[in-house]
């Protein structure tokens, strides 16, 4: 007979094997390495074709653009040290000194030892000139290359390069948001698109290795025009499971994640002495979209009644754990065109009932079970969105609106929204960089596929203002026009802006210098450093 004792040694042996397999683990931060966890892998890391957020975030570290953005979202010089707009159809960019601008003495007063001037260079040592910038945008505009960004640059009529440092963009028609479209990584002339092999850039980090679904290994680029980054090695891990991202942070194998930890787990992160949680305003606005071609929802009183019946504060407090800001416009709070004086929609169920009565939807049986009207609410299968939908369903039930929730797989959900096959839906506007979004989302000619006016909203004044604003060079005049647009939208409620989730950074307390921005930019990673002192200064509102 086989005795139990013989087989029972299997498990101790197995555990011993695990113990042997384990070796003394040194945390990445102890080796000077920063490990960022992203919730997903990028589909592509080529600035000419990348559209997903993860690809864009890696590109912010590896590829420099003509212009960049500062913490408040304002456009600032990047590769271009300055630019001018002699007329609304012409944009002239002057590049920083390039590596081809000759040679200079190493130090004043010293013998004339000549060496290449530190200027704009790509990671492979090639000088970056206006020809590379022209190539990048010409490549995007070439229909054969199938760039998803081609539509964004359709106003470009010609790109001229009078010299190695000067670029002239000529537009076919005035397009005020043009400058913001210049935040696009530049690649060397002649770079082919090679799927997972990204073209070299001129940003602070170079890509040493990129494995699909695995990780991206970056190293500091000493030739970066802004000076070499202090953190020499950065690994970007693609960790899709939020619990695992949190456990990686706990273990120290990941030491930085932006919006990568669920609100429910943040208290545990805050209790961990090694981690710091920082919070800052976010730029992604969640909203309820209404189908204005629907009989009931075409009445603005019904839309307002729905808005009045939703207790947003409770939802933010319970589901978002207070980590979201209520908004009255789809434009991020920090945007230069945001109207701070917009009236907020209060939680007022009594008024909501009155408005429904006025709109011809009286309660058919008083306190009985019959609803005033029935609506369908479409959302994705995202867990938080489903929870939000359930709470809104209950809140609308309180005023007599029966809501059926349809939680659909993303592709089917978005397809329905774009076809107008919905009554109410919930989505989030991500990465709004310019108020021209109002033209894209509310102009009567912006119905899909020409834009994102999915609810069929039509207002002559909004059409006029958004058209005028996109060709108006003066920012002050544009601001006033967009404020008028926001006031009209606030009155008509073609969509009901709900809240903007706050940006949440969880990092090792020894990592310092990151600037938390509303647009979740990773650009300031180049300014980060690893400090010995654990009492690092907060960069946002530290908790």
């Amino acid at each position: 007979m086989v005795r139990i004792s013989r087989l029972s040694i299997f498990f101790p042996v197995f555990l011993a094997f695990l113990a042997l397999a384990a070796c003394a683990q040194k945390l990445p931060i102890d080796e000077g390495r920063m490990v960022i966890a992203l919730p997903g892998a990028p589909v592509n890391v080529d600035p000419r074709v990348a559209t997903d957020a993860y690809g864009e975030q890696i590109l912010q570290m590896t590829h420099a653009s003509l212009v960049g953005r500062d913490a408040s979202g304002e456009l600032v010089p990047d590769l271009a040290e300055r630019w001018e707009t002699p007329d609304p159809l012409t944009y002239i960019f002057h590049l920083r000194p390039t590596a081809m601008d000759g040679q200079v003495p190493r130090q004043a007063g010293m013998p004339r030892v000549l060496e290449p001037r530190p200027g704009l260079r790509f990671h492979d040592g090639r000088p970056l000139t206006s020809a590379d910038v022209r190539y990048t945008f010409t490549w995007i505009l070439d229909s054969a290359n199938r760039s998803p960004h081609r539509g964004l640059y359709r106003h470009i009529a010609a790109i001229e390069t009078p010299d190695a440092r000067t670029l002239v963009f000529r537009l076919s028609e005035p397009f005020a948001p043009f400058l913001s479209t210049m935040v696009r990584g530049i690649v060397p002339a002649g770079s082919p698109a090679r799927g997972y092999a990204p073209p070299v850039g001129a940003g602070p980090y170079r890509i040493d290795d990129l494995s699909p679904d695995g990780e991206a290994v970056l190293s500091a680029y000493d030739g970066y025009y802004g000076g070499p980054p202090a953190i020499r090695a950065v690994t970007v891990k693609f960790v899709p499971d939020s619990n695992v991202r949190f456990l990686e942070l706990k273990m120290g194998s990941v030491n930085f994640t932006l919006n990568g930890v669920d609100p429910d787990l943040l208290p545990a992160a805050e209790r961990d002495g090694r981690l710091v949680v920082e919070e800052g305003p976010g730029g992604n606005v969640t909203y309820l979209g209404f189908n204005l071609l629907d009989r009931a929802l075409s009445d603005p009183r019904v839309r307002r009644a729905i808005a009045l019946a939703i207790d947003r504060e409770t939802i933010v407090r319970t589901i978002w754990k207070g980590r979201a800001d209520l908004v009255s416009s789809i434009l991020p709070l920090g945007s230069w065109a945001h109207d701070p004086d917009l009236p907020a929609v209060p939680f007022d169920p009594a008024r909501a009932r009155r408005l429904l009565d006025e709109a011809g939807f009286p309660d058919p049986d008083g306190k009985g079970p019959l609803p005033r009207l029935r609506l369908t609410y479409k959302t994705s299968q995202n867990e938080v969105r489903r929870r939000v939908a359930t709470v809104i369903q209950e809140q609308l039930r309180q005023v007599g609106i029966a809501v059926e929730i349809q939680s659909l797989e993303w592709g089917s959900f978005f397809s329905d929204i774009k076809k107008g096959n919905f009554q109410i839906y919930s989505l989030t506007w991500v990465g709004i960089a310019d108020p021209d979004i109002f033209h894209h989302a509310f102009h009567s000619r912006s119905a899909p596929p020409d834009g994102a006016n999915r609810g069929g909203y039509s207002n002559v004044e909004v059409d006029r203002l958004t058209e005028a604003a996109r060709s108006e060079p003066s920012r002050e005049k544009r601001r006033e026009m967009y404020r008028q647009v926001q006031r009209i939208l606030s009155r008509d409620l073609p969509v009901f802006p709900l809240w903007a989730g706050r940006n949440l950074l969880v990092r090792d307390r020894r990592l310092a210098g990151f600037l938390l921005t509303p647009d979740e930019s990773y650009a300031s990673i180049r300014a980060m450093r690893i400090v010995r002192d654990s009492s690092t200064p907060p960069t946002g509102s530290r908790r």
Partner: protein, 306 residues
């Protein structure tokens, strides 16, 4: 045997044809336009039409289907819409990770199930039997999305033995393989116990022991071998389930396998990639089942394939 193999291979053709056809139709019936997903909302309609033409999505569905079918024998599974890489290359990059995880988890399952199942059968009605039954039920009851993080919490966060996630043939493989293999091990343990008990009741075992063969040898050399035939068949069948069912484990441990690739492809409505993944999974399942049948014949000489 050669005739049998040839016959099996020929029978594979309609199976694969059926799978390819059903998946082709289903993925095209799903709402969601790959062109819209690829180009985003900033694209102008002309650009979308251009891309649709280039991807040949403007052609009738039968014509698209015919092109796809004729490409398969040439090894041309098309180009992924989302990454612009050849589908075969995309899949080939993920195959090693998937095979490594599947093979290791099956090995883990076999190494756990065989001794535990044998022990339970040989000590029927004793503590070891009940313990093994309890462990099997417990393992079957814990879903992978819970077991994975629990193992991570214990072995990575608390004990610091193993990495939380990542890809590699060494330490990063341990937890995903255990997570994926545990449920299978539980199932196999109960199966080994049941089939072995059945064999132990047969006269040839009693006769062998009566002739003076030690009980342990009678079990290991005779009964176990016969008991393994259904177990090996079950293993072969579960291989396909491991290939497609490893998505959760791959997601938890950031394992770059074909399961995750398939889910991403479905989300992006990347038709060629979805079809390619399903084709490879179908072919692998058929191949493993064929290998299983051959192995069963080796284990039990009474099995004859005609």
């Amino acid at each position: 045997m050669r005739r049998y193999l040839l016959g099996r291979l020929l029978r594979t053709v309609p199976v694969v044809f059926g799978v390819v056809t059903v998946v082709f139709l289903l993925i095209h019936l799903l709402p969601g336009d790959p062109v819209e997903i690829m180009l985003g909302e900033s694209a102008v309609p002309a650009q979308k039409e251009e891309l649709r033409r280039e991807l040949r999505l403007d052609r009738p569905i039968l014509s698209q289907y015919a092109s796809y079918l004729t490409g398969i024998p040439r090894g041309d599974l098309g180009v992924s819409f989302r990454s612009r890489e050849p589908v075969l290359g995309e899949i080939a990059r993920r195959i090693p990770a998937t095979v490594l995880l599947a093979a290791t988890s099956i090995t883990v399952a076999v190494f756990v199930a065989l001794p535990l199942g044998m022990l339970a059968a040989m000590r029927r009605g004793k503590a070891a039997d009940y313990l093994s039954g309890f462990a099997a039920m417990l393992s079957l009851s814990i879903p992978n999305f819970l077991l994975g993080p629990l193992l991570v919490l214990l072995f990575s966060v608390q004990l610091g033995f193993l990495p939380v996630s990542g890809y590699g043939a060494g330490r990063p493989l341990v937890l995903p393989a255990i997570t994926l293999g545990t449920g299978m091990a539980a199932l196999l343990t109960r199966m080994v116990r049941a089939t072995l008990l059945e064999e132990l009741r047969k006269e040839y075992v009693t006769a062998a022991i009566a002739r003076g063969l030690p009980y342990r040898s009678a079990v290991a050399r005779h009964a176990l071998r016969n008991a393994l035939v259904p177990v090996v068949t079950a293993l072969g069948l579960s291989f396909g389930a491991v290939l497609t069912g490893s998505v959760i484990t791959e997601t938890i441990f950031s394992w770059p396998g074909i399961g995750r690739l398939l889910i991403q492809a479905i989300d992006a409505r990347d038709y060629p990639l979805v079809q390619g993944c399903v084709l490879v999974i179908a072919l692998s399942t058929v191949a493993v089942n064929l290998a299983t049948d051959i192995l069963c014949a080796r284990l039990d000489p009474r099995i004859r394939y005609e």
